[in-house]
Symmetry: C2
Subunit: 361 residues, 2 copies
DNA sequence: ATGAAAGCGCTAACAA
DNA sequence: TTGTTAGCGCTTTCAT
C-alpha cells in the first residue's frame, strides 16, 4: 500500500495541509524547520505523490496525448521522441495512440484522452482531417506537426521545404553543375510544390534557365526513383546531377546510374532528402538534406506548452530548417564514409561489459 | 466543462448511484427502462467518464507504462507498437518513457509511474539492470521484453535465436551449400551464442563438419561485416555462402563480394537477420530471418494482462520464432525484388486524394 | 430497484 | 505559521 500524505502528516505530527504545502513548495508560508522535517519523513517513508488524486483535484493531469497514424514510420518515431524529450523536462507524461489512418479511431482517441483530463494533444503525421468535431467539443489545446491542417486549428509545425530544396540544389551548383535534374515527390503535395519552388529560385538566382524536361515525379519509392532517373539520363541532354526528393528515390537513381555504367559521383552527382539510415550505408553514401523530425517534435512540444500557459494564442506556423549533410554521392570532400569504423554507442559499450544474459540481436 | 455523472442523474431524475450502475453494466439490478433512459441522456449530453476519478476510487488506472532506452531504435519501435496494439484491445493507454540507458532515469520513471497508479510496466529493450529496488518497493507487475533479465523478475519475452540460426543455415544447405561462413554478433551476447548453436546443430544434422575458421565476429555494423566477409572470402577454401547475424553486416558482405568481383548470388549466397528496411532495397535484396519484434511486443502485453488478472503467476520465458523471408541474395526463387512496383499503402492512397495541404516529404 | 452517503488522496479557501 | 474542512467525480456499501 503506497504511503499517503496523511501518513506523513501523522508521522510528522502536523496537518495534511502543512505536508501538502511543504511538499509542493507552496506560496503559503511554512516554517523552514517543519518543512525540512516533513521532507525527511516523506523521504524515509518512501512517499510518492498520487498524481491521480492531484489531477482529480486540479481538474487537469500532467499527461499530453500524441496521436499519430503509426509510430512505426521512421519520421513519426523521431517526432515523438522530440516531443517526449521536451515534455519530460516539464514533467509531463506522453500517451501515444496510433490510429492507423482511421478517423473513427482518432475520434475515439480524442474522447478517451479527454476522459483522462489530458491537457493537450499533439497530432503527429496524421494525414486526415475529420476528427475536428470531437476536438471542438472538448476544446483541448492542440498542435499539429507535419500533417494536414484542419481549418481553425492554427498551431502547427512543419519543415521548411523551400529552404531544403534550395540547400540541395545550391550544393550542386556550387560544385559546378549547371544541368540538374529533379525527381520530385508526388505532384500535388505541399512539400513537392515548395521544394520545386526552391529548385527553381536557386537556379534563377544563379542564372540557370529552368528546363521542365529535367523534372520528373515519383511517389517516394526506390523503383519510382529508378524509373524517373532513367528518363532523365536518357534525355538528349542528360543532367550531370540529380536531386531526388527522398533518399529512397536517390537510391533508385544510384541503381539507374550503375545500370547505365555511369561512375558515381564523377559522371553523376546525387543529392537525396530525409537523411534516412540508407543514406549512411549506400554506395556511395548519400549527400542529403535532413528532415528535422526530432527538432519538429521539440518545437511542437514547446508550442503546446506555450498554449497551455496561455501564451502564443495567436496563429502560429513554425517552420523548421533542415541541413545539408555532405557525404560521397556528389564527390564533395567528406569524412563520413561507409569504410570509416563507427564509434560504438553508449548502449553498445554497456552491452560489451554486461552481455551475459543479453538478447540483443 | 465536461458533463458529469451528477448532471446526467439530474437530467434523468435519478440518483448518481443509479446512473453509475447503468453506465457500468453493474451487477446491481437496474430497471431496464430506466437504464435505457439514462444511457440515452448520457449520450445526448455527451457524457464521457472521468477516468481520473474512477482511478482514484478504484486505486488503479488503465495505464500501462513502457520503459525503453530509446524508442527510436527500430526494434524498440516495433515492440512498442505490438504492445500498444494488444493493450488497446483491452482499453489500456500506454505511457512511453525513454531512459537513454540511464538507470537513474529508469528509477525515476518507475516512481513516476507508480504515482500514476499504473497497473504494470513493460521493459522493452532496456539494456541495464539496476532499477530493481524501485520495482520491488512498488511491486508493480512487470514484463521484460528483449532485454537483460534481472534476477527475480521471471516474466520475459525473447526471440527464439537458436531457431533463427537454424532457419538461415538450413536454407543455405537446402540450396546445396556445404561450406557456409557465419559472421556472428558480438561474442558474449546471448543471441550470438544461441545462433551459433543453431548453426552448429543444423550443420551436424546434415553431416557437415563444423569448421571454426568459418566463423567470424562483428558488432552489427556494415563495416564490421565487410571486414569479416573479407577474411572469410580470403580463406584457402572460402565459403560459397555466408550467414550474417544482421542485415547491416550482410550488406557489408555484399560490398566485400562486389569488391572481389564475385557475382551475387551465383558465386556467393548471403542470408541476413532482422529484416530491416535495407533488406528490401539492397542489391541484391536480402534473404533474411525476421526478428519478430511486433509479435514479441504483443506477447509481452498478453503476458502482462495475464499477470494483472493473476493468471500466469509462475515463471515464464516466452520465445517467439522468426521466419525466413526469401529474397534475391541466395538465388532462390522469389517474387520480392526491388524492381517490383510497390502497392501504395492505405495512407498513400489517401494522400493522393487529399494532398492539397499535405506536408509529407 | 433505488437512494444516501462515505471516501479514494489531494489542494486550497477559510479560520485561527 | 498551522489547522480544519470542503470537494474534485466516481463507485459501492448500506439502508430503504
Amino acid at each position: 500500500m503506497p504511503v499517503t500524505i496523511r501518513q506523513v502528516s501523522e508521522a510528522a505530527g502536523v496537518s495534511v495541509a502543512t505536508v501538502s504545502r511543504a511538499l509542493n513548495d507552496s506560496d503559503h508560508p511554512v516554517n523552514a524547520e517543519t518543512k525540512q522535517r516533513i521532507l525527511d519523513i516523506a523521504e524515509k517513508l518512501g512517499y510518492h505523490p498520487n498524481h491521480i488524486a492531484r489531477s482529480l483535484r486540479a481538474d487537469r493531469s500532467p499527461i499530453i496525448g500524441i496521436i499519430c497514424d503509426d509510430i512505426t514510420s521512421p519520421f513519426t518515431t523521431m517526432i515523438v521522441r522530440g516531443i517526449q524529450d521536451r515534455l519530460k523536462a516539464d514533467g509531463y507524461f506522453c500517451v501515444v495512440i496510433n490510429t492507423d489512418w482511421d478517423p473513427i479511431d482518432e475520434q475515439r482517441a480524442i474522447k478517451d484522452m479527454a476522459g483522462y483530463l489530458i491537457e493537450g494533444i499533439i497530432f503527429a503525421e496524421t494525414f486526415h482531417q475529420f476528427a475536428s468535431d470531437e476536438l471542438n467539443v472538448n476544446d483541448k489545446k492542440c498542435v499539429f506537426v507535419h500533417r494536414l491542417f484542419p481549418k481553425g486549428f492554427p498551431h502547427s509545425v512543419i519543415p521548411d521545404e523551400l529552404y531544403g530544396g534550395r540547400l540541395a540544389v545550391n550544393h550542386l551548383i556550387q560544385l559546378g553543375h549547371r544541368r540538374i535534374g529533379y525527381i520530385n515527390g508526388s505532384e500535388d503535395y505541399y512539400s513537392s510544390e515548395e521544394r520545386l519552388l526552391g529548385y527553381k529560385t536557386i537556379l534563377k538566382e544563379n542564372g540557370i534557365a529552368f528546363d521542365p524536361a529535367l523534372v520528373e515525379y515519383g511517389h517516394f519509392e526506390v523503383e519510382q526513383g529508378y524509373v524517373a532517373a532513367n528518363k532523365l539520363l536518357e534525355l538528349p541532354e542528360p543532367p550531370t546531377a540529380i536531386f531526388a526528393a527522398n533518399d529512397l528515390m536517390a537510391l533508385g537513381t544510384i541503381y539507374a546510374a550503375q545500370d547505365k555504367g555511369l561512375h558515381l559521383s564523377d559522371d553523376l552527382a546525387i543529392v537525396g532528402y530525409d537523411n534516412q539510415r540508407i543514406a549512411t550505408i549506400s554506395r556511395p553514401t548519400l549527400t542529403t538534406v535532413t528532415l528535422p523530425c526530432f527538432e519538429m517534435g521539440q518545437a511542437s512540444a514547446e508550442l503546446l506548452l506555450a498554449l497551455l500557459n496561455n501564451e502564443a494564442t495567436d496563429s502560429q506556423e513554425i517552420k523548421i530548417k533542415g541541413e545539408l549533410l555532405i557525404r560521397e554521392s556528389c564527390g564533395a570532400k567528406t569524412k563520413d564514409t561507409v569504410s570509416a569504423p563507427k564509434k560504438p554507442s553508449r548502449a553498445d559499450r554497456f552491452n560489451l561489459l554486461n552481455a551475459q544474459n543479453d538478447t540483443k540481436g
